[in-house]
Each structure stands twice: as structure tokens, then as C-alpha cells.
């Protein structure tokens, strides 16, 4: 995708999309079936196929000769729902995309609608959104490398990470009352302001987590078995990554130096310092190492955010999107009507289209909204990185063993909710 279309959503050329994104999914290739080989159905219910993914593999011994992948078992018509729900109502659906980093989805969706309406959130709201994104990214990465390690038999590593993730969820719970399906953002603001002292808690958590990350690093990175299992396994090189539209940590592991937070800063990423780690081999180990390093960078960002955030409003004062305070709703007629109209009919969004992409937990997460006016989107499309990453599984796994396929799938962090939508 070219830079122009990212910067200027109005120039989006829909006709060029299919040409830019080569779709690599194969449908049940005829030459897969072979009488002399064992065909194994890996998934959709298999402990290593996280979510409900399916791979049909032709095996020679334990080596996967040929395979094809299927998805769609958790399809819930999210994009279509976007056409039948008001903009406010759809916030809830964005949680269920990449449920490991629901907050990033919330933020991406809110940014996209706000861009369409020309609404700006005040500084505190933006800082909180940024901290949320980083918290969610850390949780996402911890899940990914943790599950990847579990698939290769290292269970303790996973639980070290999960302990920190649970603490991150507790911090998120303090924001919005939910741990997983947050629905925290609103168009033009946030559900609530962060409670007093939340920034300090986040900072303390970040410092603690840094130590745990170092401990996890010491436990697994140097382990000979882990190195043997991951180095040079399921390699996806730079050219393939470009060809398959890889983004995020998976692309950076193969040497694609791109990070939307740095390349086209949204929120306040311009004001914090962080590095973008890039590896070059594109194997399972690099994908693991990149994520480990990114957690460290995100922790740095969190600490910086906690120092820079100031008191202030979190809501835009734009009357179209501002949900009236309960005080106003209960005590004034105008407030009550405003509230009623907001939730019953939704707010009007001017005609136009907008594509907003953010650096999601596992790659570029884009929200493309076409509005023809009115309270609901005319079209809502999501660019979920999992779709593009999942296509790469088949070429990645050609000629590797079943155990390596498990490692590869864990390392590219496919989230079925985002893949199937």
C-alpha cells in the first residue's frame, strides 16, 4: 500500500486494492490427495491451532509435503454489522477483533470515525489512548511469545508472562471495568477518565514487568533446545513478507523496517522516544526476539507517557459526539433529549471515506469507513493483519515437520477473531 493512500484517505483508490494485495489462499488443491501419503486434519479443534483454524496437511512421515489452510470458523459478520449499527454501537464489536489487544482496536476505530468527522480529542484523552495501546500491545506480545513457548513445551515461561498480563488487565479493569472486552473508547473521547493515580500504577507495573521480561529472557533465549527449535525454522524472508503484505513484528523479524508509530505517528507517538527493533532472518526465533524487545520498548513508552500525562478533559467538546454527563441528563430537559437522540438514533457523520491505520499488536490494523451521511456506516472494512499473516503459513510450512508448523503458527500470532471477523 502506498504512502499517499495512508496520508490522504480521500485518494483511496478502491480499484487498486486487489492488485496490491495478492490473495494467496488456496482452495483444496487437487494434488494434495495422494493414496500413498497420510492426510492429517490439523484443526479446527486442535490445541495448537489457536482459535479455530484448520490446516489440511499431506504428510510424509512427519514432514509436511503440502498443505492448505482454512479459516472462517468464527466468522461473525463484523463488517456487515458495521452497516447496521450506529457508530457508537460498533465500538463493542471492535473488541472482538483481536481480543488479545482489544484496546488497540477500540482506539483504531475511534480514530477512524473521528477522522471522518474531523473531531479531535483533548490531550489527556489522547495520552490515555496511547497508554492503553501500549498496555494492550504488551499483553498481546506476552500472549504470543508465551503461547509459542507452550507449543514448544516451555510452560513456565508462559506463566511468567501471563502473571504480568493479568496485572495489566487489572490496570485496564480500573479504566473501564472489563478485562478482555474493554469497549473503552468512545467517538470523541473515552468511557471514563482514568482514576486518580492510575498513571503511577502503570509506571510501577512497567518497572516490575521490565524485570520479569529480563527474567523470561534469561530463562528461554539462551536455552539450547529453544534455539534449536526456533532458529532457521519456518523462515519467511523479506521478499516473501512484502509479497504477502506482512506487517508488524512478523515483517520486522524479516528485516522490513516499518513501524506505523514511527513512520506516520498518530496519537502522541511523536513525543516519546522508542526504538523499532528489526531482525533479518525471519525465522521463529527472530519473531520471538523482536516481540521480546518490543515489549521492552513499549514499557519505555509507558513510563514516558506516565510522566508526560497531565490532568484535563478526556472528551472532545464537539456536541455531535459528546455523550452528555449524567448530571445534565437527569436534571435538564435538553440533556435528556440529547442523551435519548444519541443512543436511539446515533449521531450524523458527514459523507466521505477514511482509512486509519494504527500499529496493532501483530501488524497494521486499518479501519476503512465509507459514509454516505447518517448514523451508520455505508461500508466498514477492517484490515486485520492476521489475514495476511495466515496466508503465509502454507509456504512457511512446506517441508517442515508437524512440530515446526506448530512453532510457526504460534510465532506469527494469528488471532481467529481478527482473521475471521
Amino acid at each position: 500500500m502506498s504512502e499517499i493512500s495512508r496520508e490522504n484517505p480521500s485518494q483511496l483508490d478502491r480499484a487498486s486494492w486487489p492488485a496490491q494485495y495478492n490473495v494467496h489462499f488456496e482452495k483444496d488443491p487437487d494434488d494434495l490427495w495422494d493414496e500413498s501419503r497420510m492426510i492429517v486434519n490439523i484443526g479446527p479443534s486442535h490445541p495448537a491451532m489457536h482459535g479455530a483454524l484448520r490446516m489440511v496437511a499431506r504428510l510424509n512421515g512427519e514432514i509436511i509435503e503440502k498443505s492448505y489452510c482454512q479459516f472462517g470458523y468464527t466468522h461473525r459478520a463484523k463488517e456487515k454489522l458495521g452497516e447496521n449499527r450506529t457508530y457508537h454501537q460498533w465500538v463493542v464489536y471492535s473488541d472482538r477483533l483481536n481480543y488479545c489487544s482489544a484496546l488497540i482496536n477500540n482506539v483504531a476505530y475511534a480514530l477512524s470515525v473521528e477522522r471522518l468527522m474531523g473531531v479531535e480529542t483533548p490531550a489527556r484523552g489522547t495520552w490515555i489512548r496511547m497508554m492503553c495501546s501500549e498496555l494492550a500491545r504488551i499483553a498481546d506480545h506476552l500472549v504470543c511469545i508465551g503461547i509459542n513457548a507452550v507449543d514448544l513445551g516451555a510452560f513456565s515461561f508462559f506463566l511468567y508472562g501471563f502473571h504480568q498480563r493479568e496485572e495489566a488487565y487489572t490496570l485496564i479493569e480500573k479504566l473501564c471495568g472489563a478485562r478482555l472486552t474493554t469497549s473503552y473508547t468512545r467517538i470523541g473521547g473515552l468511557m471514563h477518565d482514568a482514576p486518580d493515580g492510575w498513571e503511577k500504577e502503570v509506571k510501577a507495573w512497567a518497572l516490575r514487568t521490565r524485570e520479569v521480561i529480563d527474567e523470561m529472557d534469561r530463562l528461554l533465549t539462551g536455552n539450547q533446545i529453544w534455539r534449536k527449535r526456533t532458529e532457521g525454522v519456518a523462515v519467511f524472508n523479506k521478499e516473501q513478507c512484502m509479497d504477502y503484505s506482512y506487517s508488524g513484528p512478523n515483517a520486522r523479524a524479516a528485516g522490513v523496517d516499518s513501524d506505523l508509530r514511527r513512520d506516520q505517528p498518530y496519537l502522541f507517538y511523536r513525543e516519546v522516544e522508542f526504538d523499532v527493533p528489526v531482525a533479518k532472518n525471519g525465522d521463529v526465533f527472530d519473531r520471538y526476539a523482536i516481540r521480546l524487545e518490543e515489549i521492552r520498548q513499549s514499557l519505555n513508552i509507558l513510563v514516558q507517557c506516565a510522566e508526560k500525562i497531565r490532568k484535563g478533559p478526556v472528551w472532545s467538546e464537539d456536541k455531535r459526539v459528546r455523550i452528555p454527563d449524567k448530571e445534565v441528563v437527569f436534571n435538564t430537559m435538553e440533556g435528556l433529549i440529547h442523551h435519548f437522540k444519541y443512543f436511539m438514533t446515533g449521531f450524523q457523520v458527514p459523507a466521505g471515506e477514511a482509512y486509519t491505520c494504527v500499529e496493532g499488536g501483530n501488524g497494521e490494523l486499518g479501519m476503512y469507513i465509507v459514509s454516505k451521511g447518517g448514523p451508520m456506516a455505508h461500508r466498514l472494512r477492517i484490515r486485520g493483519p492476521s489475514v495476511w499473516h495466515f496466508q503465509g503459513l502454507t509456504p512457511m510450512c512446506e517441508g517442515v515437520m508437524v512440530a515446526d508448523m506448530v512453532a510457526a503458527l504460534g510465532s506469527i500470532n494469528i488471532i481467529a477473531g481478527e482473521l475471521d471477523r
Binding site: V40, G153, A154, I225, M401, D404
Partner: protein
């Protein structure tokens, strides 16, 4: 006198069986609480004090569960496979001595169920019987993943049994016997006893003479090989490929449920206990505790009381050493990732096998020059 020896035998059999059966729930508890300790969790702590009754509750659950037999299995082999896996695990323990002997009214009672003169061969042969249970389970299940598990298990067992057997050869050469009782007795001497005959200066070094002649000191390489092979034999991480729950779901016991699954589970833990007991017996002096006679002298015990206390302390020593290795199994399992199948094979054939041959050669040279 016949009645006495029969009674003694019966007591020993019952004692060993009870201990073996108790080891399983206790080890399950240790495994769960131990892993929790390593992973900043609590582990099961609701049933009984410290969750100790949890394993009993689990066993009850297994017993009362419905025990279905899937329609696509070969019923006969499917049903006997868990038994074939479990029984050899118990049988192996028969030749392991867990204390020295005691003289009661002129009859010598050995604390060992069967004094076989081919003890080590017996262990190796019975140990490899266990794999039949796994093969049968995988084959009879008539399922692809189960077949994978049993195939992996077969090749893994064969590859590692070879190095395991060869690593024991060193011990057999050093102690010139296949019987386990004499092997332990052979380990009670001083490490430098024979070497001091060549280099008399060694006997003058104050600390050296107190080091016992344990297998681990005279066969360090053999010990490492044996320990690694034992991990593979007991299907524990990093060699748990026959199960590999994330790759081949649960491997050979995929189609099993209720008590039949529990039998496989028991077989695994009993195997672990036997393996730990074997490592103790062959390489860590079995029941031998250095300085035990001195301790008894200090306590001023005489006659039969002294003998019984000695026996009890020896059993305690044996259990302690075995317990350490059981904990070691748990420790390793929750620390390292799993090997890949081809890496496992490479390791078995290209590293372990040559090393164990080298070990035999080194042992031969050392024996030839009278060092050990």
C-alpha cells in the same frame, strides 16, 4: 524357618507395593505444587491440608467417570494396553535393593524383593516391555494422532534404550556384577582405594579417602548418559514426544478416558519412581549413607536396636536420594522446552551412542591400569 522367610517376603512385597502405589498420588501432588512454586502460582490447595488429598479426589473422579470405548478401536488391544503399560513399571522395582540386610534369629533378610543374578538385564528387558503398552494403545486406537504418538515412542525407546544399556555396561565393568545388591555394596568403599595402590600419594590426601566409591564418581559420563536416557525412557520433557500435547494432541493415549487413562498416568509416574530409584542404585550408592556407622556409634546404640535403626536410616537414605531425582524430573520438566523429533533421533544416535561407546572404552582402560 520357611514360615519366617515367607512372612518376611510377604511383608516386603506388600510394603513395596504400598509404597509404589502411594508414590503416584504423592508425585502428582509434588508435580503440581512444585510447578506452581516455579511459576508463581499456588497450585491445588483446596482439598485437604496443602491440597494433599487432591490426587485422591482426582483418582475418585477417574473411577466414577464413564468409561466409553470408541467404536473405531480394536477392543482387545485397546483394553489391555493400559495394563501392559502399567504392570512392567511395577515389576522393575522387584530387583532394586532399598536397604542392606539384617540378621534376625540367624536368618539373613535382604531388603530386596528378588535377588536375581541377572538383575540389570532383568531391568532392561522389563523396562522395554513397557513400550508395548504404548505401541498397542496407539495402534489399537485407530487414530492418526495416536499412531503418531506410538510411532514416535517406539523409535525413541529403541534409540535411547541402546545408549542406556551401553551406559550401564560401564557400571557392570567397574563392579564386575549384574546383581544390584553387590553393585550397591561395591559402592560403599572409598573412591581412591584401588587408585591408591598405583599412586600411594593419593591415600595421603586427607579429603579424598572420605569420598565414597559411588557410580557417579567412577562413571561421570555414564551417569550423564544414563540420566538423559532415563528422561527419554520415561517420556518426560524434554523428551515427551509420544505425548506432545501441542503437536499430536496427546499422542498414544488420545482415545483413552477415565480409569484407562489414569492407568497410563500411573504407569508414567511409577516409571519415574523406578527410574529415579535406578539412578540412585547404580550411581549414587543406593542405600549407602557415608558415615552412618559412625553416627550409630555416636548414638551409642547396641544389638538389634542398632540394626533396626540402621535399616530404617538406610531406607530413609534411599528414599531421600530417590526423592531428589524425582524432584529433578519435575524441575527439568518445568524448565526446558521440547525437542523436535529429528533432533531427538540425531541426539540419540549421533551423540549419546558414540559417547556411551567412548565411556566403555575409557572404563576399560581405567580398569586395565587398575585405577578403578
Amino acid at each position: 524357618m520357611i514360615e519366617f522367610s515367607t512372612a518376611a517376603m510377604l511383608l516386603k512385597v506388600i510394603g513395596v507395593l504400598v509404597v509404589l502405589l502411594q508414590v503416584v498420588p504423592i508425585m502428582v501432588w509434588v508435580e503440581r505444587r512444585g510447578s506452581a512454586l516455579m511459576q508463581n502460582r499456588l497450585g491445588p490447595n483446596r482439598v485437604g491440608p496443602l491440597g494433599l488429598i487432591q490426587s485422591l479426589a482426582d483418582a475418585l473422579k477417574f473411577i466414577f467417570k464413564e468409561d466409553p470405548i470408541p467404536g473405531h478401536v480394536n477392543k482387545f488391544y485397546y483394553v489391555i494396553a493400559p495394563l501392559v503399560a502399567l504392570v512392567p513399571a511395577f515389576m522393575t522395582f522387584a530387583v532394586i535393593p532399598f536397604a542392606s540386610s539384617i540378621e534376625i534369629n540367624g536368618t539373613v533378610v535382604n531388603f530386596q524383593l528378588a535377588e536375581l543374578n541377572v538383575g540389570l538385564l532383568y531391568i532392561l528387558s522389563i523396562g522395554s516391555l513397557g513400550v508395548y503398552g504404548i505401541i498397542m494403545a496407539g495402534w489399537a486406537s485407530n487414530s492418526k494422532y495416536a499412531l503418531f504418538g506410538s510411532l514416535r515412542s517406539t523409535s525413541q525407546m529403541i534409540s535411547y534404550e541402546l545408549s542406556m544399556g551401553l551406559s550401564i555396561i560401564g557400571i557392570v565393568m567397574a563392579f564386575s556384577t549384574l546383581e544390584l545388591g553387590p553393585i550397591v555394596v561395591g559402592q560403599t568403599g572409598s573412591l581412591v582405594e584401588s587408585a591408591a595402590r598405583i599412586w600411594p600419594g593419593l591415600a595421603q590426601v586427607p579429603f579424598l579417602e572420605h569420598i565414597p566409591r559411588w557410580g557417579v564418581f567412577i562413571q561421570p559420563l555414564g551417569f550423564l548418559i544414563f540420566l538423559t536416557a532415563v528422561f527419554a525412557e520415561t517420556n518426560r520433557l524434554p523428551f515427551d514426544l509420544p505425548e506432545g500435547e501441542s503437536e499430536i494432541v496427546a499422542g498414544f493415549h488420545l482415545e483413552y478416558g477415565a480409569m484407562k487413562f489414569a492407568l497410563f498416568f500411573m504407569a508414567e509416574y511409577t516409571n519415574m519412581f523406578v527410574a529415579a530409584a535406578l539412578v540412585t542404585t547404580l550411581f549414587f550408592g543406593g542405600w549407602h549413607a557415608p558415615g552412618l556407622p559412625h553416627l550409630l556409634d555416636l548414638a551409642g546404640l547396641q544389638g538389634m536396636a542398632r540394626e533396626w535403626v540402621r535399616i530404617l536410616l538406610e531406607i530413609a537414605t534411599f528414599m531421600l536420594k530417590t526423592g531428589f531425582f524425582l524432584w529433578f524430573f519435575v524441575w527439568v520438566r518445568w524448565t526446558v522446552p521440547r525437542f523436535r523429533y529429528d533432533q531427538l533421533m540425531n541426539f540419540g544416535w549421533k551423540v549419546m551412542l558414540p559417547l556411551s561407546l567412548v565411556n566403555i572404552f575409557i572404563t576399560g582402560v581405567l580398569i586395565f591400569y587398575g585405577v578403578i
